[in-house]
Symmetry: C2
Subunit: 245 residues, 2 copies
């Protein structure tokens, strides 16, 4: 028996998110199905981030245990032959049998990508949020500074969640342009349910001048989901980078 | 009666190309169908570039004649309400009743986009060609220089075509990187059937060191399709820019 670690990238467009559900295709479900078929034994992966329906990833992580003799490094190639083309294992390697992705000391970085203009360019539609309004990125960056650090992010958490603590640490937020795309890049040790999308939705409200940057400080203090901005739609969100500390 | 000019962008992934066909959805077919429904009279567009199945466009152009009183500038908005989301009219305006897109004095620019690496990133798969080989872009640029100018491009033309002359003018070819994407940008007054994709396929052969840059000169001189490289697949190709001279 050995534990295999995989880096998994996917186009989340047609999936109901990472986590296996009763109805609907999921990333985790596809990995389990293809690994089970590949090795002829029932395999269930354990993932690092349970991304929502429609969210993309360049670098989610997962482990599973296998008894087959295939070298762990070869798993990515073999598995990619069976996976649908919108899910790809970027690399695979053997890890300690007790390794658990969610227990690692890591910094996760998400990017929320936005395009603006009169009409949406069709080849951008699956991977960016489109807005007909101009965004003032300096104000968005100013507002973002209030969120960096360790805070109670209760206002920035979907209410349909049961976690012991809503205190989290955001290590950095950068707002910048990469060609025609405006990127909100959020890094932290861990995030609450919908937290990055609520941050993006709130910074967009600042960017279109609906609220002032300093309002974000009050939103944090309110500890009330209704105080913060809307949850931005999923197609603009990418799990972008995992740094193991 | 007035003639309306439109700039049309589309994600070509699921279409059988621009031109109406007996079987299969096309961009031209969708425009005709939605314009006819919008104005309640049969409308047929005349396009500028008949892009192939799977090829994308940021700026194809088309005209049509309408008797309805809607201002030409409002057509883009009204039509976008009916079109599938992978086709968008970026702008519309009234033009001279004799204006024909293919008769204009324009420089067309295509981009062919390539990603390289060990495993393809799923969110790039619809809009780039993926290669597991490294590309030497300096050699590709060197080879491209032989193609710039007015030449007989018979070797770079699909043989299933009947044109009077295979002489065309390429005004520029640039090979450059934009972030993680290698771009082959080809500009000219007009192109033969599959010409840009055969140029891309040939420059890729140079980039992976299968042929020397100076071989491209001999390929041109051969005036034989078998002398040039393969036709690169459609998903990497974008009709990128139209300059009216």
């Amino acid at each position: 028996m050995k534990r295999v670690h995989m880096v998994v990238a996917y186009d989340g467009t047609k999936y109901c998110g990472w986590q296996v559900q009763k109805n609907g295709q999921t990333i985790e479900g596809e990995l389990n199905r293809c690994l089970t078929a590949l090795f002829g034994e029932e395999i269930m992966v354990i993932g690092a981030s349970r991304t929502d329906a429609g969210v993309h990833a360049l670098c989610n992580e997962a482990v599973f245990d296998m008894s087959a003799r295939m070298p762990a490094e070869k798993v990515s190639y073999a598995l990619n032959q069976r996976l649908p083309e919108d899910i790809r294992v970027m690399e695979s390697k053997e890890v300690d049998p007790l390794y658990l992705p969610r227990k690692q000391n890591t910094i996760k970085t998400y990017q929320y990508r936005i395009t603006t203009g009169e009409v949406q360019i069709p080849t951008e539609r699956l991977y960016t949020l489109f807005l007909r309004r101009n965004l003032e990125e300096e104000k968005m960056q100013e507002a973002a500074f209030y969120l960096i650090g360790t805070h109670d992010f209760k206002s920035f958490c979907n209410t349909h969640t049961t976690v012991e603590s809503t205190i989290r640490t955001i290590t950095d937020i950068k707002v910048f342009r990469k060609d025609e795309i405006l990127v909100i890049e959020v890094s932290g040790k861990g995030f609450l349910y919908n937290m990055v999308r609520i941050i993006a939705g709130t910074l967009i409200e600042v960017g279109i001048n609906r609220i002032a940057p300093e309002e974000v400080k009050k939103m944090l203090e309110a500890k009330d989901r209704d105080a913060a901005g809307p949850t931005a739609p999923p197609q603009g969100l990418f799990l972008y980078k995992y740094e193991h500390l």
